[in-house]
Symmetry: C2
Subunit: 385 residues, 2 copies
């Protein structure tokens, strides 16, 4: 005999992605208003700041303190801003998460307090994971500081850290209360981080919006010339397309990513995520072309646009242990790992045309190997304008 009780849990999370500039100027009310909207008493804030950002903006810690002082009726600091090293490295150990938890425990931070994470994707991930898993979940405001983080990690509903040799193996659901995309933080980025977000923008354009791809293609030189207005427009549309997905991690969002994740691991994260995505997108676009799914002209346009905005489309890591698909340090092993996470049969996202990604249920290992060879040649060809 089985007797039973049914239970339904409904959750709804609403958050706003704000596009602004100089958000930490004392007169800017956005952060204050976002936080004050949910609390009747003064809100305690724990700032977690990317050390790289703090180095490029030497007055940042003082600016944060001045901001909170200027809005002392609504805000207070739980403790001085906490610095974390930036870059993927910070996600490779539990240590930083553990440090954040200690601070949260010591600094009287409650479920009604806010973690305000200011940094690149890696720092946002570490701060977000710590916030989501401490005290049954703290409130989170993200202020992403790279083009990639503003377009991707900053607006995501999950945050992960690396473990067991896999990227983002450990993570939690952590929708933010708000995201503040501040264009003024982008001006000091080194070139690698300036272009990083364009890989995800091109990826999502290929999956969902041919006109957006045209926009990036025709503005590629302006993006290289660090036109902040064009970059802001590009990020905004990329966010819109990423958030508009019926399924956050649907096929279009994952185009090129099986290889990207593995290339990051194979290069010990010397390739940054955007750089790896650029190669992954180039690889799967080439595979789509060689498989007879994509026309040659579209294939050339995708590769040319990626190259024009500054990405390198080939890395020796593509060939590491290429003849041994089962080898833990082989690109092809990344396919199996990608599918282990998702479950279900082996599949790959392919390009049928610009703006049209499809999921196909089988992968030809030989064709992946040929795609690498073709990509190597194409990557080294001089750019035809």
């Amino acid at each position: 005999m089985v007797d039973q009780l049914e239970h339904v849990v409904q959750c709804s999370y609403r958050y706003t992605v704000h596009f602004t500039t100089d958000a930490l100027a004392p007169t800017h009310r956005l952060l204050r208003d976002v936080v004050a909207a949910t609390n009747q008493s003064r809100s305690r804030l724990l700032f977690v700041v990317d050390r790289g950002v703090a180095q490029h903006h030497p007055g940042l810690a003082r600016q944060i303190e001045a901001y909170v002082t200027a809005h002392a009726d609504a805000l207070e600091l739980a403790c001085p801003p906490l610095l974390l090293p930036g870059g993927e490295e910070v996600k490779n150990s539990q240590e930083h998460v553990a440090t954040l938890r200690e601070v949260i425990a010591d600094a009287d931070v409650s479920q009604q307090s806010y973690v305000v994470a200011v940094g690149g994707g890696a720092v946002l991930d570490v701060a977000g994971f710590a916030a989501a898993t401490a005290q049954r979940g703290l409130r989170l405001v993200r202020m992403p500081t790279t083009t990639l983080a503003q377009a991707d990690a900053g607006v995501a509903v999950t945050a992960g850290i690396n473990a067991c040799g896999r990227k983002d193996f450990v993570g939690a659901f952590c929708p933010p209360v708000a995201v503040i995309n501040d264009a003024s933080l982008l001006t000091t980025l080194e070139a690698r981080d300036w272009r990083g977000g364009l890989a995800e923008a091109i990826k999502i354009a290929l999956g969902r919006d041919a006109a957006f791809f045209d926009f990036i293609e025709s503005n590629a030189h302006r993006l290289v010339a660090r036109d902040l207005g064009v970059m802001t427009q590009t990020i905004r549309r990329s966010v819109e397309l990423h958030l508009g997905a019926a399924e956050a991690r649907g096929p279009e969002a994952l185009f090129g990513h099986w290889a990207a994740f593995k290339l990051e691991a194979l290069t010990d994260f010397r390739l940054r995520h955007g750089e790896a995505v650029a190669i992954g997108v180039a690889l799967d676009t080439t595979y789509s072309y060689l498989a007879g799914l994509l026309d040659e002209n579209s294939w050339r346009r995708v590769l040319a646009t990626l190259k024009t905005v500054g990405f390198t489309l080939y890395t020796a890591a593509l060939r590491t242990n290429l003849g041994e698909p089962e080898h833990p340090r082989s690109l092809l092993r990344g396919l199996a790992e990608f599918h282990q996470r998702r479950g279900g049969p082996l599949a790959i996202m392919l390009l049928r045309g610009i703006g049209d990604v499809v999921e196909t249920p089988a992968v030809g290992v030989g064709l992946v190997q040929r795609s690498i060879a073709v990509l190597e040649t194409a990557a080294s060809e001089p750019q035809v304008a």
Copy 2:
């Protein structure tokens, strides 16, 4: 200028709490059907089993293997059942969570695989937290093996481990796919774990259902005599009341818990959760009586029922550093910690009558101290039947 994009994320989780017996007998189809309902291909199962349960049921690992073999068309084991030590101790380090993650990474466990956790509340918590945070979340089936876990941790939507010296400081949202409450697992419980769930049942009865309190009161002797039918009825109603809460961690569910959490920590978890809840409920009931909120007869009935089912209502830990409310190892410090987690002003849940818990915004430290003195006397009085 601020431009913005709104984003809404809706999640809905539905799960069934099944009440059955001998769920792991090869002919019992429940677990198989629960798992097969969501997967088209064979489902991979990772069993995590409480070592204490395995000791009381020496054939359990073999039984699990036989069960999966009997349903080999729908089920397969990812690896042999993994044993974890039972009891709160297992929640005090990250080590067991890390071990589980390694197994998940090595045993080809995907988002479509299942972690089946068989054990007391602590093992369910560790397995649930590991499952929720690995691979962006695995599916979870809970088979709670104590009266407390069947009535409480087993049906919860969160799972936590202890960190920074605080109970459940680190946790994640992890609604199960299903909960299987198997009465046959309760027959071998030692007396402490047999009665443990009654503390939560009495607590929720006091908060929400006076008739349920009457039921427990009038069946107290049958419960002590290990009447499985009465226990199953009690657990079922307790689950129903816990799940029926508009707010899972609302005031009624938290009655007596500020002290309970702290007493567990102060005794280094020698007091088990149910035992600590019994004392916490007795303490706050006494406080309610001394504060003039609760009549003397109701106060006596609550204490008598808790004593009749076997709980000890006083522990020396209540008086540890009692004169120093700020001392980290003082009961009164537990009030601050409880409110640090929830945020907002200091408050305490009190009893206005049986079935009627109210949240009051202030706490009288002197009255807590008097309540402890009164409780000490009451706890040592011989039971008046």
